[in-house]
Amino acid sequence: MGVLVGPWAYLATRRLRGDSAAGRILRGVLLVGAALAVAGVTLAVVIATAGARGPDAAGSVAMLAILVAGLLLLVGVVVLPWLFLLARTVARERAARVRAEERAEVASHLHDSVLQTLTLLQKRTGDPAAMARLARHAERELRGWLYGPDAGTPADLAGALRAAAAEVEDRFGISVELVTVGTCPLDERTRGVVAAAGEALTNAAKHAGVATVSLYAEAGGAQLLVAVRDRGRGFDPAAAGRGRHGLAESVTGRMRRLGGTATIRTAPGSGTEVELRLQVASAR
């Protein structure tokens, strides 16, 4: 039995070397087993030399002690490490599978967004505007994936504004600097404000002649505030009859119908700011 157990114990110890807890248990079992065997043999020798019961009794005591020690060693050195190794292998396989799945998901996402864009960019080096647009689109997507909430249809005001800003960025090749403070759920009225904000953004993108537009939203309290601001051409509000229809009707008119207000602050050469305000039932 020793011949069989020895190599196995050696192998198991080597495989468990990295694991200090398992190693300690194994060493403990070995020690107890060895101590038991030695104690049994010593007892047998003591009984035999005392000669009280004769060699028969001494022999059977020694035999029993060695048998128990062997059994203990068998369980401790062979069965326990085997179970332990088995459990560890299963756990490792599961962890590896989870890692592989995660990796595959990241890879597929990067492939669909970043890799595709990089490939496209290499083909279109002659068109800086298109390159910028592609890069911006990829950046936004990656950001959304890394930091944003789960993709899908936006559920709140901040998400809806982000989507509206993204659409204007893609359509007109400008960048929208979005800052939101708090957020609120979407309903018919807040959706209307998002639409008005989108219209104001579109107007800025079309007429201001600048590369960046700021979009700010503050929500969560009794009043919802959205501001769209550019440092572009601006215009004379008194003379803004034609061509400015978009701003007057779809922004001011829309806000009025929602029961809110739209204030336009502008002058030729000093940019335009459209401020939308709406009273909402306190969301908090």
Binding site: R143, Y147, P149, S175, E177, V179, T180, V181, G182, S214, Y216, E218, G220, A227, R229, E273, R284
Partner: protein, 212 residues
């Protein structure tokens, strides 16, 4: 006035050379580093006026550089920057001692302005940072621990709100009929509150946004 001596800490060498190209000659870039250990060593050796510090850095992040340098060289001023949209990280470096925060997409002239402002001992808030701070202080605290530190005054909120809307300090001053210097005073006061407030809501807020 002599040129500002700046040290650039960012793990992308391409970005470091881009910054150098954009701010020179208005700012003198005296050194650069790509990780925490090299940054701490370089800053201690060179003693720059301003450190441009990436929030995300191998070896402990921008926060580790702040902690190590400010412990021995409290006079060095930090301007943090990142591409991250994570408010927790940003508020973290500002609470760690950075005097301002800008996004990496910032234009060259704006970056120079931010550096000059931080160098002068003022605070520089980008629209995004102003938004984060408003958000962080907005949560209604049941019992303010220290009313001096735990809330923003009405005026400070107005200033932050305009900065978040994309107004420059000068435009903010004009809109509120106050001097540009007063705007700077308000922003510096907000920075102080942000750095010294023990408000539990602040860390809870940052944590919640981290998970979101």
């Amino acid at each position: 006035m002599s040129r500002v001596r700046m040290f650039v800490v960012d793990d992308h060498s391409l970005f470091r050379s881009g910054v150098r190209h954009e701010v020179e000659p208005a700012v003198e870039v005296v050194g650069e580093a790509g990780d925490v250990a090299a940054a701490v060593e370089g800053i201690r050796a060179l003693g720059p006026d301003v450190v441009l510090l990436d929030v995300h850095l191998p070896g402990g992040g921008g926060r580790a550089v702040l902690d190590a340098v400010l412990a021995t060289h409290p006079g060095v001023r930090f301007l943090a920057l990142s591409v991250s949209d994570d408010p927790g990280d940003v508020i973290g470096v500002v609470r760690g001692g950075a005097r301002g925060y800008v996004v990496k997409a910032i234009s060259g002239p704006e970056l120079c302005q931010a550096i000059a402002r931080v160098h002068a001992g003022d605070a520089y808030f980008s629209p995004r940072l102003a938004g984060f701070v408003l958000d962080a202080f907005n949560g209604d605290a049941p019992v303010p621990l220290d009313p001096e530190l735990d809330g923003l005054t009405r005026r400070e909120q107005e200033v932050l709100r305009l900065i978040a809307r994309g107004y420059t300090y000068k435009e903010t001053a004009e809109r509120l009929f106050i001097s540009a210097r007063t705007v700077e005073t308000h922003v510096s006061a907000v920075l102080r509150k942000l750095q010294f407030s023990n408000r539990r809501e602040l860390s809870r807020w940052a944590k919640a946004r981290n998970l979101a």
